[in-house]
């Protein structure tokens, strides 16, 4: 059984090529993935991300609960509306999921988790919440549209009611505001400015149409993947999973090792740090022609690794990716593609930021 978002008919009417993604019938592209990618880098594009899961957490002790549940510290969230990117770990320090948590009130936080991990996330969060008397409610009555690109905010604001637009226009990065109907967050997964808009399902098709009329290009999951990779953002299931710690997925920056906070997975992370983290994730560029793909073998001075996310970068015109390799100085790094070997360059990422290739890429 395949799930459909409320925008399914809108995608089909636009001639989308549809694909199964984690049990959801989603648009891969509406013609050309590369043109959609460029639309987001140069102007504005939108994505139906209604398959993602909105979960509301309520209770007197919800902040205390999230201090325990999440590897990043929700105490960084001081003003209502502020958002935080974090991992949720298992006891082994492996990543159950990565998510965004919004602070809405002292007794009300909202999290948005991945579609493919929905069931295990809900089960895990509900289990952990019991001891804190926090209620966990999924909100399937919402759809979600991400509007991204240098002109995305301006175009999205033009289709909102005056009060919502005023609140949304005032948002700083990584903050959200609740309008009359829309929940608008200045977040995204493309490396461009823009909004992620949570909208009541019955209003989603009308909002989508207004955005189309305002000149926002519909973009599929294909472009979403190349945009987020260029922006240096991890994809759950490809770059990390339950057997990978944040240290091994270059997500150390999201772990808050504050004094005395006993979050799930902390003991395992501390032990791994003390013993030495065995693997690391790096950004790679291939200057030869060809395409990096998930699962390709990488060789280094310290042994083998593999390509995690890999793709052709439309902005750079060559292949980029993430690789997980053994710790230590890697020496010459090479990738095997169909019985041939090609040199890789290890680079600091993001590969692209605000529409521009980064120095050294």
């Amino acid at each position: 059984m395949t799930d459909k978002t409320v925008l399914n008919e809108a995608h089909r009417a636009l001639g989308a090529r549809m694909v199964d993604f984690g049990g959801w019938d989603m648009p891969l592209n509406y013609g050309s993935q590369i043109e959609e990618h460029h639309a987001v880098r140069r102007d504005a594009g939108m994505f139906d991300v209604s398959h993602m899961t909105v979960v509301d957490l309520k209770g007197e002790r919800v902040r205390e609960f999230l201090r325990h549940l999440l590897a990043n510290n929700v105490d960084k969230l001081k003003k209502p509306g502020k958002a935080l990117y974090t991992c949720m770990l298992n006891e082994r320090g492996g990543v159950i999921d990565d998510l965004i948590v919004y602070f809405l009130a002292e007794d009300f936080f909202r999290v948005v988790v991945n579609a493919a991990t929905r069931e295990k996330d809900l089960k895990w969060i509900t289990e952990q919440a019991k001891a804190f008397e926090v209620t966990v409610s999924e909100r399937p009555e919402f759809a979600m549209i991400a509007v991204q690109g240098p002109t995305a905010r301006e175009k999205a604001l033009s289709v909102m009611d005056a009060a919502t637009a005023e609140a949304a226009a005032a948002l700083g990065k990584f903050a959200a505001a609740q309008g009359a109907d829309l929940f608008v967050a200045r977040t995204g997964y493309t490396g461009e400015d823009g909004f992620e808009i949570i909208v009541p399902a019955e209003q989603a098709a009308a909002l989508w149409q207004k955005l189309l009329d305002a000149g926002v290009a519909p973009c599929g999951l294909g472009a979403r993947d190349t945009l987020r990779l260029e922006a240096g953002m991890n994809l759950y299931g490809q770059d990390m999973d339950g057997d990978v710690t944040p240290w091994e997925a270059n997500l150390g920056w999201t772990i808050a090792m504050d004094e005395g906070r006993d979050f799930i997975g902390r003991a395992a992370l501390e032990k791994q740090k003390a013993d030495g983290v065995p693997r690391r994730m790096v950004g790679v560029v291939m200057d030869d022609k060809g395409v990096l793909r998930h699962g390709q073998t990488v060789t280094t001075a310290n042994g083998e690794g593999e390509i995690l996310s890999g793709a052709f970068s439309p902005t750079l015109g060559k292949a980029i990716g993430f690789a997980r390799i053994p710790a230590g100085e890697p020496g010459d790094v090479r990738v095997q593609i169909r019985n041939r070997e090609f040199a890789l360059r290890i680079v600091k990422y993001p590969f692209v930021r605000d529409g521009e290739p980064q120095p050294g890429i």
């Binding site: 090529r17 891969l28 592209n29 050309s32 993935q33 590369i34 294909g222 190349t226 022609k289 060809g290 395409v291 793909r293 793709a311 052709f312 439309p314 169909r338």
Partner: protein, 131 residues
């Protein structure tokens, strides 16, 4: 669906072959195949002068989505490859049956072409797949 030229023969795996006046056979992938693959970003061409057998994977087309082998419909010597594709792989997206050809073979045995699908049979196969 765009018109399938009547002078082509097809493999079930979506390669086409066209016998040309000089007896050489030109090979590419179908309009349908390029649509399935999406924007092409890299084509690995065979070596000119190489001998290939029918059914060999002798080229690779890579799109933003996936890498896909191109199987030769015929046996023979590769006499030319479409160098345009090195810098403009999207030529296949734009004109799969024409400018987007991939390689040209001097054929060993013309009878191999008889095993291929004619345009009507190929169109029927696509139709059946869609349902």
């Amino acid at each position: 669906m765009s018109e399938i030229p009547g002078d082509l023969k097809f493999l079930k795996s979506h390669e086409w072959a066209r016998v040309e006046d000089d007896g050489l056979v030109r090979v590419g992938i179908s309009e349908h195949a390029q649509g399935l693959l999406g924007d092409l970003v890299y084509v690995e061409l065979p070596e000119v002068g190489a001998h290939i057998d029918a059914g060999d994977g002798c080229a690779v087309v890579e799109s933003v989505k996936a890498a896909s082998d191109v199987y030769s419909p015929v046996s023979g010597e590769v006499v030319a490859v479409n160098e345009t594709l090195n810098d403009a792989p999207e030529t296949i997206n734009e004109d799969a049956f024409g400018e987007g050809w991939i390689f040209q073979v001097k054929i060993d045995n013309k009878a191999e072409l008889d095993d291929m699908l004619d345009p009507a049979a190929y169109a029927q196969m696509l139709e059946d797949e869609a349902h």
